[in-house]
Symmetry: C4
């Protein structure tokens, strides 16, 4: 089975997710600068989520690039990842409209945690097909970044009930960590 | 005529359908866990519909993979399938917002039934081009799963007026049945 | 310049247009069959517009299939066509929510007329590149169907102010006329 | 790393942006011609933004056509461009609904300015990979049009507080300037 339609469908879903989030930024009633103020929190959530979807698209791109073939299990592991990412517009809107209240921030983190787990499952499903000695497997390696991300999410979710800003800072840190491009796969593929 | 644009267009439409459904999950007014409660039914409908669209994408992927060529009739049979699937966000929202009331559950089933029929028509249109002895035809075979699905939908629709939960359970059972990947075509193509 | 990105972008835009129209079908307040009644007119407009976008996708598919190369003018002629088609969700909603009132029906026709003209301009732009003796030019031929469509739209628009149902019937007739697949290009390409 | 998925993802995002903008044109309450009047300003903003997204797609198409390879930095430079373009539906709606008030017009220009800067950054990132003597670099050349656009935006933004119509005229002039197809890259690639 070939991977091109998997890529095309994932590109389509991620493109729609990243773009419809902006529909949550409602055009403000008035026309003064002050009328933009309530939009700012929504805008900042949007920036964070845009970066997250961008990171997932980037990593997905690298991962599939190193992939030779896919099977039925991979298709579902991929849909599972897309499912959690498809909830990002909802959690972004809820968090943005409520100025970092505890539950919205916690739910935002839960969806990120589940998306990260789904990505991990997808990498395992791909490694199972390609073998542990494959370019794909060695390039993913120990996936330290992925594990650190999951640990930060897991810590941030309960912290959202203590001080939501700390949890939100955790999400920002993970995003920055991933913005540094994933050279592992790039390097191995180039060899 | 080649199939690549048919695949690309179908991927695009299915990607949009699967993603815009999430727009029906409106960000709740409050920020407590209780405010999420009314969203739960919408969320569960969303999960079910996401799985259904995922199944259709998966089966469509397998079907087109075994396809060598398409013609005008196939393009319209495919658009006919996409039409019924495009109604899924509407029926999902109606069912989710009304906690499994009879009519919304019945209408949800009617759209599934019509989508399943459209898929059946598409397979017949493709077999007509490739011949009954083709890999495509033998891999579709008697299409037992498709027939069982249609029977369950047909039974569930009237049952929605007796007890909507039974009808909804029927839709869930069909989804689970299809989640087991369709190895028929995969196996035949691999030979 | 190659045509594959032109096709990909057009597929994307048409896929989004055909799918977001369904967002105009708002989930009804109640759960009885009667609550679906106001949705019916919107649904029928949706069916008509879905068929129209399907026809445009189909013809665009055939047209680009016969195309060898594109240039800057073609890209803009194509965007011009997509522009008018992108207004279809708006005119569909306006017509559907107002049960075939004169102005909504007339405006629906005006957009169809402008889309048909844009398609005509696109075919001329492509013929200019390929030459009048090309497969493309001979397969488009005199474009009788296109001319009849434009004539029906032009007649239907003023008729919308006399009796909107006659105008709407005109739009349905054009759609049915095109549903019969365009064998001209198919046949010539096959030769 | 190959550029095809970058193109596919960009096409998807641009296709969604260009199409969801039309959702801001709400179907008017009444059915008379007068009811369309409030929609006209939204419509004109939509036309302008449609042309802008079309221009970006066109230039992106030409730019990537001349591109041989991409790297991690390019992917992020591209996402950065898509980010600013994704805000266009928001600024279009705000400007259109408020009949060219100062702040909406200024914010519209700010987003255009940031998108133009992002495009400039993307061209630099690509030139860094291909070298200053490459076809890509020579075909971009001094990018006079890009610089004039940025200068007009920078002048229009403060002018929006003096007389919004002048600023809006500036945006229209830039759009017209770009509508004249960018023959530079086309010519060089053809050589």
């Amino acid at each position: 089975m070939n991977k091109s339609r998997l890529e095309a469908f994932s590109d389509g879903v991620l493109a729609v997710i990243i773009t419809i989030m902006v529909l949550e930024m409602k055009s403000p009633g008035g026309t003064s600068l002050a009328d933009l103020r309530p939009v700012i929190a929504v805008f900042l959530s949007y920036v964070l989520s845009f970066v997250y979807i961008g990171i997932y698209w980037n990593n997905h791109h690298h991962l599939l690039h190193a992939t030779q073939r896919v099977n039925g299990a991979t298709l579902w592991a991929n849909l599972h990842l897309l499912f959690w990412l498809s909830l990002v517009p909802f959690t972004t809107a809820w968090m943005g409209e409520n100025h970092l209240d505890s539950w919205p921030v916690a739910v935002y983190g839960i969806v990120l945690l589940l998306a990260a787990s789904a990505y991990f499952i997808l990498t395992r499903a791909l490694i199972r097909i390609h073998g542990h000695g494959s370019t794909l497997a060695t390039s993913i390696g120990s996936d330290r970044k992925g594990k650190i991300s999951i640990a930060i999410y897991a810590a941030a979710i309960p912290l959202a009930f203590v001080q939501p800003w700390i949890a939100a800072a955790g999400y920002v840190i993970v995003a920055i960590m991933w913005l540094i491009p994933d050279r592992r796969i790039e390097r191995r593929v180039a060899q």
